[in-house]
Symmetry: C3
Subunit: 268 residues, 3 copies
C-alpha cells in the first residue's frame, strides 16, 4: 500500500484551470486549512480546457518522478456537476484523486490496489458547489489523505476505473504507425510511438513526408534542422534544433498527422 510521508507530505496538482484566475490558489488554501504541512507541487495548470488526453499524457510521464506516498491531484473535469464519479485510486506507491473520466487510465488494472468513489464525506467542504469540485471535494480529500487518513469505510469501494480512447500505435511488417499526441512549449512534436522491445529504427515520416532517421538527440543535426529521437519519457519526438518543429512543419494542436516509421532509407 502507498504510505504518505507524514513529515513531508507532497500533493501534486494538475489542472486545466490556467494561472490567471484564483482557482489554483484557492485549492491550495483549502489544503492548507486542513493540513498546513502539505507541500503542493504544480505539474501544470495549462492543460487545454477539457483536454483529458493531454492531462493524461502529462500525468503519466510525471507521476513516478515524485516520492513514494505522493498524492496526485488531477482535475480536468468537463463533467463537473454531472453524474461522473469522483474517485481516489491507490497503487503500491501513489494516490490519485480526480474525476473518473479516463484521466488515470494510464494505470494498468494490476497496478491498482484500491479504488474508491468519493461519496458524501465528513471531509468535504460543508457546501458543495456544482462547478468547483476541486475546491469542495478533491482538495479536502487530498488534504485528509496527506495527514495519513484512510478512505476505508468513508467512501465506496469500486472495482475499476474508466478508460480513454486515445493515440494508438500499430506495428506491422517492420512498419510502425502512430499519431501526434502532444506539442510542447518548444514546439516539439510528441508521437504515440514508444520505444518497446528494443530501440526504434527506421525512417520517420509525417503524413507521408520524410523527416529522417531516429537519432540520439538534437546535437546530431545542425541548428534549425529537423531531427527525430526518443524523448526523455520514451516517446518518439520530432523537433527542430534550437527551433520549433510545430512552426517548421506548420502543425497545430488540432491537426493530428499520422506518423510512420518505415525500414531503410526510403520515403518520397
Amino acid at each position: 500500500m502507498a504510505v504518505v510521508d507524514a513529515k513531508n507530505p507532497i500533493i501534486t496538482f494538475l489542472s486545466d484551470f490556467g494561472v490567471k484566475d484564483n482557482y489554483v490558489g484557492i485549492v491550495k488554501g483549502v489544503i492548507a486549512q486542513s493540513n498546513p504541512r502539505a507541500k503542493v507541487i504544480d505539474i501544470s495548470h495549462e492543460v487545454s480546457p477539457f483536454d483529458i488526453a493531454m492531462g493524461k499524457y502529462l500525468l503519466e510521464t510525471s507521476y513516478e518522478r515524485f516520492p513514494e506516498g505522493t498524492i496526485h491531484l488531477a482535475v480536468i473535469d468537463p463533467g463537473v456537476g454531472t453524474k461522473r464519479r469522483a474517485i481516489m485510486v491507490e497503487t503500491g506507491k501513489y494516490f490519485f484523486i480526480g474525476p473518473d473520466n479516463g484521466l488515470f487510465s494510464f494505470l494498468r488494472p494490476r497496478q491498482i490496489r484500491r479504488a474508491f468513489s468519493l461519496t458524501k464525506s465528513m471531509h468535504f467542504l460543508k457546501e458543495i458547489s456544482a462547478t468547483f469540485h476541486a475546491r469542495d471535494i478533491f482538495a479536502p480529500t487530498a488534504a485528509y489523505l496527506s495527514t495519513g487518513g484512510s478512505l476505508e469505510g468513508m467512501a465506496t469501494r469500486i472495482k475499476g476505473i474508466n478508460g480513454l480512447a486515445d493515440g494508438h500505435t500499430n506495428r506491422n511488417r517492420g512498419k510502425v504507425v502512430g499519431e501526434l499526441i502532444y506539442i510542447d512549449h518548444f514546439g516539439n512534436l510528441v508521437t504515440s510511438i514508444r520505444n518497446a522491445g528494443g530501440p526504434l529504427k527506421g525512417i520517420v515520416h509525417m503524413d507521408g513526408f520524410r523527416i529522417g532517421p531516429v537519432r540520439e538527440t538534437f546535437g546530431s543535426v545542425p541548428v534549425w534542422r529537423p531531427v527525430c529521437y526518443i524523448n526523455s519519457f520514451g516517446y518518439l519526438e520530432i523537433a527542430v534544433r534550437e527551433g520549433s518543429a510545430a512552426e517548421y512543419f506548420g502543425v497545430k494542436e488540432l491537426s493530428r498527422p499520422k506518423i510512420l516509421i518505415a525500414p531503410g532509407k526510403g520515403g518520397r
Copy 2:
C-alpha cells in the same frame, strides 16, 4: 485579532507582475531572507496590468479559503512611487498588505480591526526604490508579520481605507440589473449580480439578448450550449458547456455589457 500560525505561517501573493519577469521570485526571496519558514501561495500574477478591480475580485473571492492568520499580500499598484499610502489592514482572522487604492475595499468597515499606513520602518529594505515597493516595503513587512511581529508603534494608525467604484447592481420591480465584471480562463462571464435574499430566479439577458433561465450547473444543458448559473463564489455567471462564452458571444475584456434578469420566460 488575527494571529499568525508561527509554525506554518502562510503568505498569499496576488499581483499584476506576470510570470515572465523575476519580480515574483524576488519578492519570495526577500520574504525567505527574513523568514525562511514562511510559505508563499500564489493567488494570481496575471491580473491585467494596473487593473485594481480585477485584483479586488480575485482577492475577495479567495481570502477566506486560507487558514486563520494568513497574510494576504496584494500588489496592483499603478501609483507606486507617488504619494499613495502603503497599508496593512487587519480583520479578526487575516492580515492584508498592499497599496491603499481600493484593492481591499471588499472589506466592510466593521470587519476592520486595525489599519496602518506603512511609514519608514526598520523592517523595510535599506534602499527603497521608487518602482518596486513589493520588494522593498511590502515583502519585508509581510515577512515581519509572519514571524508574529506587530506593527503597533512601528507604523501610523489610520482610520479607514480607500474605496473603489466598480460593478453595481440594482434591483427594481423584480428585475435585477448588473454588469459583466470578469472573464475567466475558460471564457466564463462573471457578472456583478449576487445571490442575495434567496436564490436568483428569472431569465438572464445580456445587452438585451436573451440567454436563458438561471440553472444549477453546466450539466443542465447540452455540450456547446450557453448556460447561466450561480458560480462557486456566489456570482451569476454565463458559460458555454465545454466551450467559451466569451468566444460564443464575442465578449472581450473591455466590452462591459449590461446584464439583466427579468421574471418569466420573456425576452426578445
Copy 3:
C-alpha cells in the same frame, strides 16, 4: 564558502521550459525524492526558448535577494546532449548549477571560489537522457547540495566558466551609448546602461528619437506619457506611465534599438 541552511534549504529555479508542460514539476519531484525538505522558488520559466542572455539578466538581478546558502538552478540549455559542460559554481554566499554557456557570466572571476564540471556521478539519475539534463543531472545535483553535500572529489574542478557576448555600453565625452536588453511584462524597456559613478544625467534617445530626461519614477509624468528612470535593479529603463512603452514605441523583442544619453536638453 557558501553554506546551505540545512533546516530550510532553498533552491531557486530559472528555465525556458514554460509552464504548459510538466518539465518544471518533474524537476521539483526529482528534488523532493532526494530532499523533501528543500523549498524550490521559481524565478521564471518564461525565458524565451534558448535565450541565454535573457536568462542571465533575470538571474543577475535576482540572485542576491535570496538567503545565503541558496542554490540557484538555471537551465537555458540549447546545447543539451552536446559536449557543453554542466557546471556548479560557488561564490562566498551562493551555489549556481546549470550549463556552462554564459548563463552565469555575470559572476566576476574574483567572486568565484570554486567551480566544478559535473561528470558522471553517483547522484545523477540512473539513466541519463540526451534531452532532459535538468531532470537527470542538474536537479539531483541541486538536491544533493541542499542536504549539505559537497562536490569535492565527486566532480572535476575547473578554472573558469564561459562568457557571453551581450549588451555593451560605451561612455565617451559625456555621452553614454547602450542597447535595449529586455522588455518586461509591463512593456517597460530595459537598457544596458547602468548607474555607475554617480547618478545618470542627460536626455535619453532611442534610435535617434528624443524620449526625455532621466527622472526618478513613473509619478514624474502624467498617465500614458513616456518616462525614463533607473529601474529597481540599477538599469536605465524607458516606460509609459500606466501603459506599455513597447506598444507606445512599437518595439518588439527582436528589434534592438540603440539607446543614447546626451547632455543638455538637445535631441531632435
